[in-house]
């Protein structure tokens, strides 16, 4: 069972029911659950969307798109049925926040899905979990069955005239399916390759109908926004970044864990105070701020607020808020190799720059790390990565290229140390680092 952590600076909104047995429907209701859905039935679509806009809630999957605005793009009238699709494919290395939400508070995801459905006029929602999360899928399935039994799902939910169905679905192993158009392909029973955009899912989505796709954390946050009121929720965070974020801290820290902190909370404090500092009394070499695809930050660059805009200004991204801390005994070439090995494995092959780029980057970095690189290789790695950027249907190509560019730019010296047949000064896993 994943360990829960706590820190005095935490503001527990999304995590407030964690560890309180809220996976049981009666307990969830006792703790205030499903009151937001009832309120939304009374208030109606326009009010919900205005509240979401005013809350400054932004997509927790990584892109940070304003949720209320996304919902407002769905056309009011549609010949085809509309859908809500909850993205719980959580596969970005460094990210394990949705894992805890599914485990401790599955009904918040159901309630958020209902509210999204009311907002856009959908009668069906899908909750998609990555295939590895089977035990969490079972928790989710029980929660959905309980909600049906209570009349919170199905015909005339909560005694209203609204109908709403939820289908839970398992994936079967694919990072790529976390991209929204690939996710729809997977739900439709196909290979998870991306679709070209436009049209955007809000207009032509699942089964050709208008579809809102939100990350599981975003959806779980929605009932809390309604409960607190948009203004109170927005006030917790920083400018244009409402509320809190579940920061999954991992790597070389004393107290790894998922901490719920206000948007804009200082990254240096996350590393040194909340997570207890670098482990074993070692020094800090680097921090990945938001999952493996976000460019690396140096120790002198982490005195920043963790919201979408401030991390962007610092040259990286808030992403999935998976903070990966790296100590001073780590080989960054090896780290880069392990990162690109992942993207090479997950590239679906649909777009050639991503398929070929990830493959050649992995080959180059493998050779380089083994001590067979040349000075020209460093620029070649950079050149390959630069030529993937912006040249693929979905963001996986960028997600693979961005971190590599960051490693080469900020740790060029470490790359140079591997030249001239020098064995890696840190590495232990040369022969293994191939999946």
């Amino acid at each position: 069972m994943p360990r829960l952590v706590s820190h005095p600076d935490e503001v527990k909104i999304v995590t407030r029911r964690f560890g309180m047995g809220a996976a049981q429907i009666d307990r969830y209701v006792e703790l205030g659950g499903y009151s937001s859905a009832r309120k939304c039935i009374e208030q109606g679509s326009e009010w919900i969307i205005n509240e979401m806009k005013a809350s400054n809630l932004r997509g927790r999957g990584g892109a940070g798109f304003p949720t209320g605005l996304k919902w407002s793009f769905v056309p009011k009238q549609s010949v085809k049925p509309k859908y809500v699709l909850v993205n719980g494919d959580e596969s970005e290395p460094g990210t394990c926040k949705d894992h805890l939400i599914f485990l401790h508070d599955p009904h918040s995801i159901i309630e958020g899905t209902i509210i999204a459905g009311l907002a856009i006029g959908a009668k069906m929602g899908f909750i998609y979990l990555r295939g590895e999360y089977r035990y969490l899928l079972e928790i989710m399935e029980k929660a959905v069955a309980d909600a049906y039994a209570k009349g919170f799902l199905g015909k005339g939910i909560f005694g209203s005239e609204f109908d709403f169905e939820i289908i839970t679905q398992t994936g079967a192993g694919a990072y790529e399916v976390g991209e929204e158009s690939a996710l729809m392909e997977s739900v439709e029973g196909k290979r998870g390759v991306p679709r070209i955009k436009p049209p955007f899912p809000a207009v032509v989505g699942l089964y050709g109908g208008p579809t809102v796709i939100n990350n599981a954390e975003t959806i779980a946050t929605v009932p809390h926004v309604i409960e607190m009121g948009a203004a109170a929720y927005a006030a917790v965070g920083s400018e244009r970044n409402g509320g809190t974020r579940l920061f999954g801290v991992s790597g070389h820290v004393e107290r790894p864990g998922v901490y719920e902190l206000p948007m804009g909370y200082n990254l240096k404090k996350i590393v040194y105070e909340v997570a207890g500092g670098v482990w074993k009394g070692r020094g800090l070499k680097a921090v990945i701020p938001g999952g493996s695809s976000t460019p690396v930050l140096l120790p002198e660059e982490i005195d920043i607020g963790m919201d979408f805009d401030q991390v962007g200004k610092a040259g990286s991204m808030l992403g999935s808020a998976g903070v990966v801390v790296i100590d001073d005994q780590t080989c960054m070439v090896e780290f880069a190799l392990r990162t690109i090995s992942f993207y090479q494995h997950e590239s679906c092959g649909w777009c050639i720059p991503c398929r070929e780029g990830t493959d050649w980057l992995k080959k180059s970095l493998t050779r380089f790390h083994a001590g067979f690189g040349t000075a020209k290789d460093i620029d070649n790695i950079k050149y390959l990565a630069e030529n993937m950027m912006g040249r693929t249907f979905c963001p996986l190509g960028d997600a693979a290229a961005m971190p590599i560019l960051g490693f080469v730019k900020k740790f060029r010296k470490e790359f140079e140390e591997h030249l001239n047949g020098n064995p890696c000064p840190h590495a232990k896993h040369v022969d293994l680092a191939v999946v």
């Binding site: 994943p2 360990r3 049925p81 959580e90 596969s91 970005e92 290395p93 460094g94 990210t95 394990c96 949705d98 894992h99 069906m124 295939g131 590895e132 089977r134 035990y135 289908i167 679905q169 398992t170 994936g171 079967a172 192993g173 694919a174 990072y175 997977s186 739900v187 439709e188 029973g189 196909k190 290979r191 998870g192 390759v193 089964y207 999954g248 801290v249 991992s250 790597g251 070389h252 790894p256 864990g257 998922v258 493996s292 998976g322 990966v324 790296i326 100590d327 780590t330 780290f335 392990r338 990162t339 992942f342 494995h345 997950e346 679906c348 232990k428 896993h429 293994l432 680092a433 999946v435």
Partner: protein, 175 residues
């Protein structure tokens, strides 16, 4: 062809598939879950499994294979009864994921994608399994084991070995 008499699946799984294909707006949406559930029961996607899934959904076997080959959890060869999946992605790597993989390799005497001679265990190095803050982590079938240390590996293997010996014919091993 009568699916009732020819089915490679248990009556329970057949009933589950009927329910799955009925609940989606489009039948084909059940394909990916069906393949994974079929694999859980049969052990892998055999020709018979692919044939029956194709027939139940009403698409070609080629189409099923085309989809199945995309998903990393789906396999076309049997794995061990207990498939040990060791994450070595960044968060696990930083906290000793490769050492955990090494320990399993030594304990089981097999490498990446290997299966033990008695068919009880298989070993796989896998990508991120979403347990980064509790690294290093592994999954044995669907069970998570987190915050591991190399010295815990022998105990984990012994635990599953005991399960395999206690219930050699159990159908529930993948649950």
């Amino acid at each position: 062809m009568s699916l009732e008499t020819m089915s490679v699946f248990s009556p329970q799984l057949s009933a589950r598939f009927d329910a799955l294909t009925a609940k989606y707006p489009v039948k084909r949406s059940a394909l990916v879950p069906m393949l994974l559930y079929a694999q859980d029961e049969v052990g892998y996607l055999s020709d018979a499994v692919i044939g029956e899934v194709a027939a139940r959904i009403g698409i070609t076997e080629l189409d099923v294979r085309n989809v199945a080959s995309y998903y990393s959890m789906l396999r076309f060869k049997p794995a061990g009864k207990f498939n040990v999946q060791v994450c070595t992605n960044i968060s696990c790597m930083l906290r000793g994921g490769y050492e955990i993989f090494e320990s399993f390799r030594e304990e089981l005497g097999i490498g990446h994608k290997g299966v033990t001679a008695d068919g009880v265990f298989s070993l796989e190095e896998v990508e991120c399994i979403g347990a980064c803050s509790w690294a290093p982590a592994i999954q044995v079938n669907y069970d998570f084991h987190d915050e591991l240390k190399p010295e815990l590996v022998a105990g984990i293997v012994a635990g599953y070995k005991g399960k395999a010996e206690a219930k050699p014919e159990a159908e529930d091993l993948h649950a």
